[in-house]
Symmetry: D3
Subunit: 283 residues, 6 copies
């Protein structure tokens, strides 16, 4: 289960505030505090659930007297109709929190579900599915957690926990008159000693210099399957290889078959299809 | 252009903070403050742009001496390769802000683009495409703006600016022994006088009572095309009709052809495909 | 009872912080943690109580071990001497929170009390007393709640939950060459479909065009009793009528007698007389 | 002019946020960004102006391109019709900020005006008018500034900048078996050395012991004019004397005539009558 | 025990956030939620403990199910090996909070320990050891509390709770043509009536005028022992005397022997030596 | 120069708020807005300056019209009397910001100065001086920057950017029946692929297994000089070696002479001696 950090607490408050749950015109017009009920959260499509803890925290935040029961765990595969959680309490509390709780849960479960499809597609190969920093502003921690819940592995959480030298960096240094090998050797010396250094390349010519520099990880950007196979052969275990760019559920198995170690997919978090999940009231 | 409210400023800070842009291990290892350059943001696929203002605000937040030029406006249709904006300044500033700025811009443009496809699909009919409250937590204001940039119209921004009586409410009141008409009449009296009252129905039997109550808007939830046509006939202009549930780009034209006034689509904001946009460094 | 939203929690923290309750020079010089007592909150004048929940939340925030008992509810009419609540715990906690808790409670009860005087004055007529957006910065939610506790009804909570076209808007449009009817028809089309449209007029000449536009609510601004009577006759139920401007406890009954539906009074929240309430220590 | 501290910036943001100025349904329906105009803030009643700086900061926060001109200063006495400030810019900006800016300005000017009435009433005597901590939660800094703008003097800003021993404290200590003199001597020793010690008494019997303790200020709580005169005689300059409780504009001159040094009045900030100030659009 | 004010809660959250305890790569790689244990906090050097409450609050913040036992209190003198507290719960929780909790506890105990050395050094004289405003940004409340825990007394908490006229002020006024006595008399009149006035002097010539003005406290800045003795004689109880500047553990006893009332030492908080405290895991 | 991130802006606001600079009793009593002057910040002892940018940001925050000139840069070695910066503006602004600005500057310069002493002491050897996570809560980013300004290198910024397996982790795993090699191999597999893995050992017996696991960095905790020499020989370049524990300015050169790569010193940030820096007013 994801841990409810202070930042997550703040995010829940932000979400409740932007939905003005404490000024809900509908429940105020229709209900009283004596209307007590049970809300049941259920899957309406199949998928991997993620974020139950946050959905429940939303309801807890609304009313101290809500009781919560919880039947499943993040990472579980659900069938349509599967019960996810129950919320006991004032009907107004349940209905006010419904949309906010589901907005968290549906996105996170959508990410977990899509990640898992990729993970399943490559299960015959050692390659791991990893995410990117292409997440929704403010939800990095949640989006990355959902990838793990779906069986994926996280790439850098942010700019501080890995050195990743991209084409823009290399171009700039070339412009300064610094060759690739020289730039990489300098970077290896300047980088924080606790971090590995990854270099993005888009052709095989760059590979020899990258290996010579001792870089730990090589990102093969938008490379053909054919070239990836060659890269795996050339590297021969001297660096971790990451395939990146243009990878879809259709071609991911072919990419994994090349022998790369990591396959990174931006769409896991930048183009999410929400899982269908609903809340029904039982009285 | 979207206005940069205090909440948007906070969201930009949150996004920069979660990406640790001020502790970027890569630019710190490779670059100096003397590396000056230009970053060019360009579309890589066709689509409707939205959120340029926020992308630029990200770079402004990072460094007071960055100059910004801006060539297009939100709502414009872009072709692949179209230039969106230029950022002048320290290369480290440009590269640190790149991912955060694009994360905002790609999501918002993705929403605008998808909205516009629906709008175009129904352009021969009076129906308007509207969004829902199924937005990403914390991004309600941005997601809704992007829908407008794409030519859509906003439904309720939050629980306070419209009364929407759903099946869960009606069920609860029935359980209390309150019939539909009685419930609606009570709601019409209790609701804030500045708000209209909308009622969700899922069969035509409920329609007569809803009309009798004087409710202003009727949501036809997951109704067949056939029944929508009947509903339009029965209502005959006495209420606004909103079609909702299970509407896709494939069937939206048929829905519009029934004569409903509004078509609401949750996927506009809960299942976004990011527009492909990139930043290239020019030195 | 008012719900303690995240924003109310923040407001309580802000109030405690600005009073520096955790650096109280007096209790630190005089008391020890072994000084235990009971604080009793009592009305010292008659009035309608509102905000008890917030007063108690102030004490809860100061010390987890304080026990609270509570004898009455918001909206109750109190006589001088009536007991409102008791706080058990460290004397230092009780005395530190006293001023902050009373500042909330006295203002909110003052608003409820004044509102109720207006409500009582018009009780023989169908007119409802409504508030305005003339509230103290940061206290909108509390001020509006207190109006409801006193028997009033809320007007717009903010700029998003109602369309209100005022003289400034109309003047501007006229300056652009747009006539009243045309402006209103355009506004009716552009306004969010979940909101009603209200128009402010200050003479009867404007009334016909407003009615023709289909506007839902008409605000009669600073109009004479005589003209209000005429307006009620002309409108004849085709729109809601709101009297506004220059209304006092002396003339409100006459205004109500004209047959208007709503009477809005800025002084309810912009010129509050605090209710007299005190906290006494019992040891 | 009041200084715009970080806390004031936060308060302005809070006020704009609670009024949802960035989601104003009316200006969005009626206006475009091309509608440019001038807003003129004018007094509609006579009074002392206070808070112009904050009103202007509200408009600056909304739009960077607004130009501001300013003709008068806090503490000035205004006649009805006097122009206070002008705001140039988009009409939507002017109308969205209007209510928030006026809410600050009307309250602060109301406080300054009332304070000044008291100050004028006692001008023939050395007594100074002082405020209390009975301010609106979150507005302590603004309320106290407005008192100064009206010619009053501030009492304690908060619990940390003065020791004030009240009846509740004295009762508690008596209950512990500690006599008044002993309690005061202990307090004089324990109190921060940079703060003076004030003691509240409600009869003349307590006065001798208070003087013996060396307390710096004596608060005469709800004492008769006759007793105040006696107290002034007894004290004879050995302590500062503050009259408190039940003081109104009717009796304040009599209180001042007793020779007390300070007259504190809670109503200055707990029961404010807003000054009448409006914003008119000129196009 | 220090009270956990809202500001302290925020500081704990800030500290946990900057240490990214919810993204701890090590515990995530090694541990599961089933690893349960006990963390024992122990002194590793002798000293005065301060801040136990905050250390415990750090662990409480991380996990609701952690049980805490606590064996000693702030201000106690500890020997190496002395047990301070125990934390029960998930090992990951204990290890994640360890550094943050100890960072608070070691600094605060370091301040208390150093303060106590000064207090002990002057125990044969009436002089009190006081702190300054030279604290770490954001930790004023904690640093000042730790001084009290070590037996010291606080000087001004901030710029609002004491008037302190320094050489910079006096120079400026002289430049304006205002002599020292005139400046002080004006300051005595303008200062808040609840605050005492302190004046910094660096030679005995200034002393007569300061006394004449009636200033309550005189700061002898960087004065020789010889001159301090003279100052004590001249003042003869008419003002409080504070020695300041260049005072070390070596010379503090000599300073106290001069008869001054207060000895202020910036190093208590600006140059802290952390107390050695560790957390060991028991399983 | 350090970049002023949103978090640093917040920290400056927090520091100004806790010092109540907008309620400064002294400048309010003595000065007017017409008192204009220049504040000059100067070193009073020798040392390495760090944090000038933040000191200046403090004054900028207080008043938009302050002009700043700046003569030196972070990392420069200063002699007593060296001018660091000048602040032009209202004297009240200069005096109010003085303490806050110096509190930042003196701590950061103290850290840089101490770090530089260690760096100089080992300059004949390849070993680098690194910091720890033993920083003051809330100042991690500033403390670590100051270490770099002094010529040191940063160790982990937080728990997310390096895997560091300590004795507590190893003990726990042993208790679970997991041997050191097995634990390390598992950790190497589970750790984020962008991070290196460091292992703390306290005897040479553990070294062989650590090397076999492929761990990237080995921390020699509290080891004798003799054993460090042996460890360097055994490792022979197969891992980075970090000496840690009990290292002082007296023994650091001997430690460096052993051939270790990194020497980490907690006292750099947990036991800081503030550099002596002052602000003088020139008028």
């Amino acid at each position: 289960m994801i841990e409810i950090s202070p930042e997550v607490d703040d995010l829940i408050d932000l979400a409740l505030s932007e939905d003005r749950v404490f000024n809900d015109a509908t429940t105020r017009a229709l209900l009283t505090d004596n209307d007590i009920g049970v809300g049941v959260i259920r899957a309406k499509s199949s998928g991997i659930i993620a974020g139950v803890n946050i959905a429940l925290a939303v309801f807890r935040r609304l009313d101290g007297f809500v009781e919560l029961s919880q039947s499943i765990h993040d990472g579980d595969t659900l069938s349509p109709g599967a019960e996810i959680a129950r919320i006991y309490g004032k009907v107004s509390t349940i209905l006010r929190g419904e949309r906010t709780a589901l907005n968290f849960l549906q996105r996170m479960s959508g990410i977990a579900t899509a990640t898992n499809e990729y993970v399943e597609a490559v299960k015959d190969f050692p390659a791991q599915i990893v995410d990117t920093r292409k997440t929704v502003p403010g939800l990095r921690y949640l989006d990355k957690y959902a990838v793990r819940a779906g069986g994926g592995k996280n790439h850098r959480m942010d700019l501080s926990d890995g050195v990743l030298i991209k084409d823009n960096h290399i171009e700039l240094l070339r412009h300064r008159g610094v060759g690739l090998l020289q730039a990489l050797e300098s970077a290896m010396g300047e980088a924080p000693h606790t971090l590995k250094v990854e270099v993005e390349i888009n052709n095989l010519e760059q590979l020899a210099e990258v290996l010579k520099s001792g870089a730990h990880i090589v990102m093969l950007d938008n490379m053909s399957i054919e070239n990836m196979v060659k890269a795996v052969g050339i590297v021969d275990g001297r660096a971790v290889l990451e395939a990146s760019g243009g990878i879809t559920i259709e071609n991911v198995r072919d990419v994994a078959a090349t022998g790369v170690d990591l396959i990174s997919i931006g769409a896991l978090t930048h183009s999410v299809t929400a899982m269908d999940i609903s809340l029904d009231l039982e009285t």
